[in-house]
Symmetry: C3
Subunit: 440 residues, 3 copies
């Protein structure tokens, strides 16, 4: 009898209790991870409001409705298209290391296949809001002169193929992820893709009427609501706490606090350094450039936020704070590209530089920490490859749109404002505006 | 001795350890649920800012202070009144399936009685912010001409009785919940109650001066800040991720990610379809209607967000995106009711249609999934009963206010703006406005 | 053999399983706490956007860029400086009960030393956003006339020493915490420090041009965007749900729901009471004062949100709603101090009164609950000591800045606006503004 008792005890101890305990724990840990990923996804979603406020605030009142309409459609079209196609290209079963081939229309993928500790849909919503971010970056650089219908088309194509392919390379088991490239939350995947597409789009589109003098000297075209632009930057900074710490895709990961700190320090350093650079360079601390300096720091730390030290985060943010000022000048004065909100410099240049700096500052494998040149080389290769893919595909895309649909509104619509020309309404009907008819 | 040892082991194994383990787990799961409900409550609270921005942005500058004051008071008065009375009517011990009778002033109810896995106060704050939402919907439809004191009164009555009674029917153990009606996060409980009260209020109040020509043709009265209105829509979309997924009242519920996806897809489909409908119908994609299309999709999916498939969510959002356009036209052109922000169409019509569509699209019990007509019948009965109750009680309410306090400001105050007439100040003191004295 | 079997069973039961179970639980509880603290920190961070909108909205259009630049720099400089020095002064190894001496530049402190159940960095980011709040309060009171460079200096000094020392006294193991002072989330630590520094700054700076008539009668100088100010108040209310419930620094603490409710009720009561006070006093419900009434309730409940009953929370909010109205009058009419946004009354007076009221309303130790005068005495001593420290140090600070850098912009810059004078740009380039050149 004792034998059976002992046997019973053994079964209970070794089988029943652990299964109950670990079963419960798995549920608990999955719930913790799911809550964390969802909260992060909601914060990243809210960044869309930040982009809308920054882009509308930094451009002119006559185009404000058009801009917020574009931003709203980014999320809307992006959500549908990414669900239908993009998610599968990014995370579906790999082909040649280049793209995914399963998981379209919410079918054919599972949490198990992806190795997730959260339900598939929690991962899908998190990835959806990231995809929408990439598309929305482009609209800032092409603001105030792009046909709305053409905008719809390119937003569609970026969400359905250009962004997901890069995502597959680096996050979806593709060739760059196999090489060991570090792009934790997407300095390259999200921001540089947006930035390079923005560069091509703005270049093919040409500058706004009045942006350059006949001699090619750039005129400043100030935004119509800097306060609102600043609100947008605060919202983006806020949302970035979902973007970076959320990219652990796990609330059980004890580094989420650390990542929040690196993110915050880089943003702070970016803002402070840009302020001093403009103060020295122009004699006064420049408001809209400083706001972009904060964003530059955030974009740059996004790749390395989990891999660098707190001091390294400050350094990366500070470097981005310098890069953004000279990047804007390079675009305007040398390349003669008109980017109304500075999206190319912030997202393209600082996204690239931030990714490469991981090769210097990563505490494991970074050059400055004795890791040699390997990581630096991989990071650089990744940045260059993504730039080549995005510049190439968006060149084809914008050229095709230009040919078949026209990319730019008619001149009189640009002068009167896209709100009237494209949507038949104005954003600020009760306010007296300055000389709308002069194009300013 | 061995006997006693074995007995000791048995006690430890079968009593001590499980109690420790499950005790701990209960605390952990309660904490997870509490955090989830609180975060959701905070997001829903923030929707108040969204409503304020949408309502102020879509109306005229001369009434902006009045509108934000009304929205602020909705939350403030609503929070106090719902705590004191409303919560008890909604969740107190049931009487006749019609209303609750305990739980007033924070006493007499417990988490145990309500079967909650979270502290009572966490549930109270979650329900409080929902109650405030119902009240605030009304203010949009009655904007730009309602006496502030009358607004205070009806906001008070809606929060104290009209909304809680419906809440009891469907969520508090009342007759509709017993029938099996599905209104997961409140398309009917919250949105249609607000929408129907808004309809009655706007109808009794009459249109704004200048809204209709003598021949009865509606004039467009554009909002004064569409950018701010768009910010409001982004905030509402963001807050809806608390509204719907939070309505599990449990972070351990593995469907929260799924609900976030259905919510997002319906919003996206609503926005896209409304945009195309207006594009085809009016020749250009309409900005403020598209913004309302997003809200329409969100309102409509709120009832069924946990019961329909991802494809079903897209369908429901798309249907709402059509309904909202024709609903606005119906109100203006046929019923001649002046609803400045479209609250009746968005919250009333789309709340009702969304609830009924659960009877078609629910994967368990929906007509399209072989569930027959039962659920469809229950959903329709619920929608009709709630409409009858709300239309009836708010008719009495607004008639009584009109008789004893007056519902509408004096004509010269409406012309000059409610900011000056009701509050003695203006919202935009530094800006040159257009022809304030003409009533425009 | 049986002996060894039993022994094995005993080891498994008493050693292996508990260690696995409790090990897992510790990770789970730490994760829950970390997520809670981070989400709260993000919400508190977002309050910076709220402060920016309130301060910009309640002042004039010509200074809007300057104000948002100041608020952005508060966070940026505050984050860097608090990381480098402030955190160590506040939480480092205690010296004389007055200040900490370790933990600078992210080194020398650990979660173990601080008795935290979360990683050190999660605590650091939470404390960082609190520190930034104290500094930003000052900028409102000194708005529209302070030199930007002087602002940078005082923001730096407050974040590096004035605030952290008070923080050490009450939260970091200093003398007031040893006495048993209750300041749960910082009515005194954060808000009154900001408020007293604001009082000194505004007094030394002197009133804005045109604020007082030659006879000393105050003129109203209305804000330029009340809608935006209201958005700011909504954002602050939203963020306060991180500020107060997050100050448990634990998501396992079952009182977080309760704290959310006390916070919300006090805000509601503050807003409602202020509205009625202004209605009675001025004949019409005042919009911007009511918005400040909400903030007054929030500031006042911050000390006692975890110690008072729900009824007590309503009482504290209501008292603050009265105090803020008369506080603003006291400042303007008696003290002749020009505080453009009411920061001194809201954060200084209501922070102090809210802290003292804990001595009356605390359900454990409060005078009204039979606790005698001890707690009341300690609370009062704390409030007075912090006021003395802050008034004294900020007097020295502002006098020194005035002497060595100058505190105020030149008169013609104040008249034309600080946006042009200090930053060479304007916030609303497309809008027709009223008579900017008259100083109005």
């Amino acid at each position: 009898m004792k034998k059976r008792l002992v046997a019973l005890v053994l079964v209970v101890v070794l089988v029943v209790i652990p299964s109950v305990v670990f079963g419960a724990d798995e549920n608990v840990e999955s719930a913790i991870n799911t809550i964390w990923v969802l909260v992060a996804a909601f914060l990243v979603f809210f960044m869309q409001a930040g982009f809308a406020m920054v882009e509308a605030g930094f451009t002119r009142a006559k185009n404000a409705s058009n801009i917020i309409m574009k931003n709203m459609m980014d999320v809307a079209i992006g959500s549908l298209v990414y669900f239908a196609i993009g998610f599968g290209i990014m995370f579906g079963a790999d082909k040649f290391g280049l793209f995914g081939t399963t998981g379209f229309f919410g079918t054919g993928l599972s949490a198990e296949f992806l190795g997730l500790s959260i339900p598939l849909e929690a991962f899908l919503i998190f990835q959806t809001v990231f995809a929408a971010t990439a598309a929305t970056i482009v609209s800032g650089a092409m603001a105030e002169r792009t046909k709305f219908s053409s905008y719809i088309i390119y937003s569609f194509v970026i969400s359905i193929v250009i962004y997901p392919v890069v995502g597959h390379w680096i996050w979806g088991g593709g060739w760059l992820s196999n090489l060991g490239m570090v792009d934790f939350a997407g300095s390259t995947v999200v921001h540089s893709v947006g930035g390079w597409a923005a560069l091509v789009g703005a270049a093919i589109l040409g500058p706004r009427i009045g942006k350059f003098t006949k001699a090619g000297k750039p005129n400043a075209i100030p935004g119509h609501n800097i306060t609102m632009g600043a609100l947008g930057v605060f919202i983006l900074w806020f949302g970035w706490f979902g973007f970076n710490p959320g990219s652990t895709v796990s609330g059980m990961d004890s580094s989420i606090g650390f990542i929040a700190v690196t993110t915050n320090l880089a943003a702070a350093a970016g803002g402070v350094i840009t302020m001093f650079v403009t103060w020295i360079k122009y004699g006064k601390p420049d408001v809209s450039m400083t706001l972009n300096g904060v964003l530059a720091g955030l974009v740059a730390i996004t790749a390395g936020c989990a891999s660098v030290s707190l001091g390294g985060a400050i350094a990366i943010g500070a470097i981005a704070g310098v890069v953004v000022v000279y990047g804007v000048e390079l675009l305007e004065k040398v390349l003669k590209v008109d980017d109304p909100v500075g999206a190319v410099a912030v997202h393209g240049f600082c996204g690239a530089i931030g990714t490469i700096l991981v090769g210097l500052f990563a505490t494991e494998g970074g050059l400055l920490y004795g890791g040699g040149f390997e990581l630096l080389g991989i990071q650089s290769l990744g940045v260059i490859s993504v730039a080549a893919w995005t510049l190439g595909t968006s060149f084809l895309l914008f050229k095709a749109i230009k040919k078949f649909n026209g990319l730019r509104v008619e001149e009189h619509h640009e002068v009167a404002g896209l709100d009237i020309g494209e949507h038949g309404s104005v954003a600020y009907g009760d306010f007296q505006l300055k000389s709308l008819d002069t194009g300013k």
